[in-house]
Symmetry: C2
Subunit: 266 residues, 2 copies
């Protein structure tokens, strides 16, 4: 049955940017989203902890009959993807790093910047993957953990977010970039603010778009794209702890009548 839902998860609201891109590019697909708001941010947690949370959420999504899993969280992509692929070999699992690395390795024409959580930055996943494909690429990276908190508190498009963007990016390392990778799915919530900061001179890579396109190719490849039995797509949202920001941002992307359930896994 190809009309089974896609499972998407993140530590909180960040993955909603990926879910929104999936809705846009794959309008016939249903999905179940799990936001681990109780444990956000993942970016300061150990590898073991992130792997445990990711496994529990994946098990839950598979118990809900999901046909594919999207790890819509860079920290979990960096720390838990390999482990999940080994643990669940029968289901297509995609991460948010690979599609971005492929795009950037192809399109970068000068210095590339990466901003991410501390855990993702320390994992070095973007830098290593990019340099493996393009050894001479100039790559700078920085941990910008406060942006996660600002997104989770729903303080985007305020003096707070503008101040933090300037504090993190207004330096030599991050000037004159060809491309900036938002290495955390929370960060597209700051996309227009960051583009304004760079006055349109730096391409702020649209990771959710790239992930949605990659997901489509994976669904086609596995012959599970919902083509034959089209029906109105449905979206279900689970959070490990209800927060105002999650409700507001989810409703902003997906409308007032979303189904939002609190679900504690551990």
């Amino acid at each position: 049955m190809t009309n089974r839902p896609i499972g998407i998860f993140d530590s909180g609201v960040g993955g909603l940017t990926v879910a929104a891109a999936i809705k846009k590019h794959l309008p016939d697909e249903s999905f179940i989203y799990f936001g681990d708001t109780r444990h956000t941010p993942y970016g300061d947690k150990s590898r073991d902890t992130v792997q445990t949370y990711s496994r529990e959420i994946t098990e839950f999504l598979l118990s809900q009959d999901c046909k594919a899993i999207v790890i819509a969280c860079n920290t979990a992509s960096a720390l838990a993807y390999q482990k999940l692929v080994k643990k669940f070999p029968d289901v297509p699992i995609i991460n948010v790093v690979d599609p971005v690395v492929n795009y950037v390795a192809e399109h970068a024409k000068g210095k590339v910047g990466i901003i991410a959580t501390r855990a993702t930055t320390q994992s070095g996943i973007y830098k290593k993957s990019l340099l493996a494909k393009k050894p001479k690429l100039q790559v700078v990276s920085a941990a910008t953990p406060l942006l996660v908190g600002i997104a989770e508190e729903d303080f985007t498009h305020t003096d707070i977010s503008r101040g933090a963007i300037k504090a993190y990016l207004n330096n030599d390392d991050f000037s004159k970039l060809s491309l900036l990778i938002l290495g955390c799915t929370h960060f597209p919530l700051f996309q227009t603010e960051i583009e304004s900061f760079y006055e349109g001179k730096t391409e702020v890579v649209d990771s959710p778009e790239l992930v949605a396109h990659h997901l489509k190719s994976v669904l086609v490849e596995h012959k599970i794209l919902n083509e034959k039995e089209r029906e109105k797509a449905s979206y279900r949202f689970y959070v490990s702890e209800k927060t105002k920001a999650f409700s507001r941002i989810a409703r902003n992307f997906f409308g007032e009548n979303i189904t939002l359930t609190e679900k504690v896994l551990s």
Copy 2:
């Protein structure tokens, strides 16, 4: 031996405000500080997790021959104090909540506000303790978790901190307060900014001062105040992960030549 050090711990830099007050009021006392920067913030973690971290840190501090323990973290005070007192009955353990509650119950002349992490707010510890002493007191509270991140990123006294203070406090609940309790040891780092926000009309309770005074009385009571064998007090700092903010803030309070060691407990 009364010249043994005092053990102080927090999830990160916040407890340094308490350590600084202890240095000021008890200049002959040495201390060992543990900042659990790897696990910061505690404010979004479960009771079990905070109890486990607190127990491990206390065991470490006692292994370093500490004569008393100061839980310089409101979340750990709210979630782990009782458990630590039971687990380590032979050592005086003080928390940062009780001295503040005693002061406020005595001095409040109108509405009292509390800002804290989500976990401390949800525990209701300040509100419950205050109402137990003064049932008719009007008490409002709010979770202001982003202030922890701002302090850990060393963004106090910037547009970011001013914006966050306004976003959290500029509302009816928090107007016309008699007293504001900073229910997180990170928040005294915003003391002057919050006082400016209230234009000096609301007393922002100086919790570190109150805790230092309480510690002194406990040391006197247990006859372990360092009076007989005075010598130059020494300060040692441990963190579970070295961060720029911790080094900078610790040096700011205690001078350039501090001893700072990374120590992973679990």
